[in-house]
Amino acid sequence: MDKKTPLYDRHVALGGTIVPFGGFLLPVQYKTGVLMEHNTVREHVGIFDVSHMGEALLSGPDALANLNAILTNSFDSMKTGACRYTIMLYPDGGCVDDLIVYRRGEDSFLLVLNASNTDKDVAWIREHLTGDVTFENISDKVAQIAVQGPETKAVMAGLADLEALPRKYYSFKEHVTVAGCDCLVSRTGYTGEFGYEIYTAKENAETVWNALLEKGAMPCGLGARDTLRLEAGMPLYGHEISETIDPVTAGLGFAIKMDKPFIGREALLAKGEPTMTRVGLRVTGRGIIREHQDIYQGDVKVGNTTSGTFCPFLKVACAMAYVEKDKAVPGTPVEVEVRGRRVACEVTALPFYNRAKA
C-alpha cells in the first residue's frame, strides 16, 4: 500500500497527475506539464514535495565513529551546520544507497535517505551500529519541501528572515521560522539551481507549501525533478548507482575516503581501477535515448545508458551512460540502439547544464 505525503490532498487539488513512486503517491506533473515546470525552475522558482525522502537521527558519543565506519565519506572534519554527500556500501562494493549527512552537533546527525531505500537503509545501519548511540527513523513525522530556482530568495524573503537562512552550499540552519513554522533549512537540492530544502513537522507542511505558492513559486512534480537532475548530471540510485554499480565507476570518488576503514573499502581496493566510467551522451542524430540501451562503436558494444530523456532547457536529447574508459573523451562519436535503430550521439562531459553563478 503506497503512502500519502502530508501534501497529498494539495497535489490532488492542484490538478497533479498522481503516480506511485518509491512507496509513495506523488504528482509526476501538474496541469502545467513537465516542460513548463522544468524551465520555470531554471528561470524562476519551483517547489517540490519531497516528503517521501527518508530522515533518520543518529546521536550519542559513538555516532561519529559509526558514520565513519558505515559510510564512505569521512565526517571528522565536518562542522556543525554542514551537510555532506556520501555513499553507503555493501561489503562487495555495491551501493546500499547514497545519502546526505547533516551535522547537528558534536554527537548529533541527521541522515537523509532515498524514499525507496529508507527501510532497507535503516535496517542496514541498525544492524551495523556499535557502542553508545541512539538511532531513530523519523521519516513519517517529517515533511520536506524543496524550493529551487534563481528567484528562490525573492520567494523566501516574504516568509523568513533571509539572514537566518544558510549561506553556503551544503550548509543548513535549524529552527528557522518559515511562514510561522519551525523548520530546518539547507542549501541543497537536486536541480542544479540555487535553492533550499525545507524540513518541518508534517503538521506544518500545508502551511509552508501554501505560503510558497502564494509568493509565486510554481508547484513541480517528479517528472521535472528527474529531468532537472539529469540535465544537471546528478546520479540517481537505481540508475547511475545501484547494488551492482560501485561509486568509483560512477565517478563519485570525491565522497570516498580510502584512508580510513569503512564497509566496502576492501572490495573497492580489490576491484582496482574501473574499466568503465560515467559520461554524458548528447544526441547528434534524430531521436531520444532512454535508460538500458546499448552503446556501439561500429559492431562493438562499448557501454550502456542509465538515464535518458529530452532535456527541456537545453532542448536536446541527453543521457547518462557507462562507457569503456578509452571511449570517454568528450566528442567521441558513438551510436545508441533504440528499438532496433541506431541513433548517433557524442560523448560529452557532465553536467550537461551548469548554472551561471552570480
Binding site: H38, G223, G287, I288, F310, P312
Partner: protein, 126 residues
C-alpha cells in the same frame, strides 16, 4: 476536451479524417495528448510504406516515455507531415490539426467510433 464531429476514432485514441479520393489523414486525439503530456519527439514512417489497421506506424515521445501510434486503417503512406516532426508540441496545442500522415488506397473499416461514441468511450475509461 473536444471531439470534432467530422472525425472517426479508435479505441487506442487516434482520429481519422476522410479527405476524399480514398484518402485519409490520421492523428492522435485531445484525450491522448492530455494523457501523454508534453510531446517532444515524433518518429514518422516513410512515404510509400504500407500500413495495416491496428498496427503501429509512428511513435510519439514525451520526456517520460515513448508511445506507439496505431493506424486506424489499412493503406499506403502518401504524405508525411514533416513539419509536425519538427514541432511535436503542435500535437499538444492543436491535436486535431496535427495530422501525422496522409494515407491513400484506404477503405474505411466499419468498427471506428463516431464523436459521440468516442466521447462515451473516453468517459468510461477515465
Amino acid at each position: 476536451m473536444t471531439f470534432p464531429k467530422n472525425l472517426k476514432y479508435t479505441e487506442t485514441h487516434e482520429w481519422v479524417e476522410e479527405i476524399g479520393d480514398g484518402r485519409v489523414r490520421v492523428g492522435i486525439t485531445d484525450y491522448a495528448q492530455d494523457q501523454l503530456g508534453d510531446l517532444v519527439y515524433v518518429t514518422m514512417p516513410e512515404e510509400g510504406d504500407e500500413v495495416t489497421e491496428g498496427q503501429s506506424f509512428a511513435e510519439v515521445e514525451s520526456v517520460k516515455a515513448v508511445s506507439e501510434v496505431n493506424s486506424p486503417v489499412t493503406g499506403t503512406i502518401a504524405v508525411v507531415n514533416e513539419e509536425l516532426a519538427e514541432t511535436p508540441e503542435a500535437i499538444n496545442d492543436t491535436p486535431y490539426e496535427a495530422w501525422f500522415v496522409e494515407l491513400s488506397d484506404v477503405e474505411m473499416p466499419d468498427n471506428l467510433m463516431d464523436a459521440d461514441e468516442y466521447q462515451d468511450f473516453v468517459e468510461a475509461e477515465a
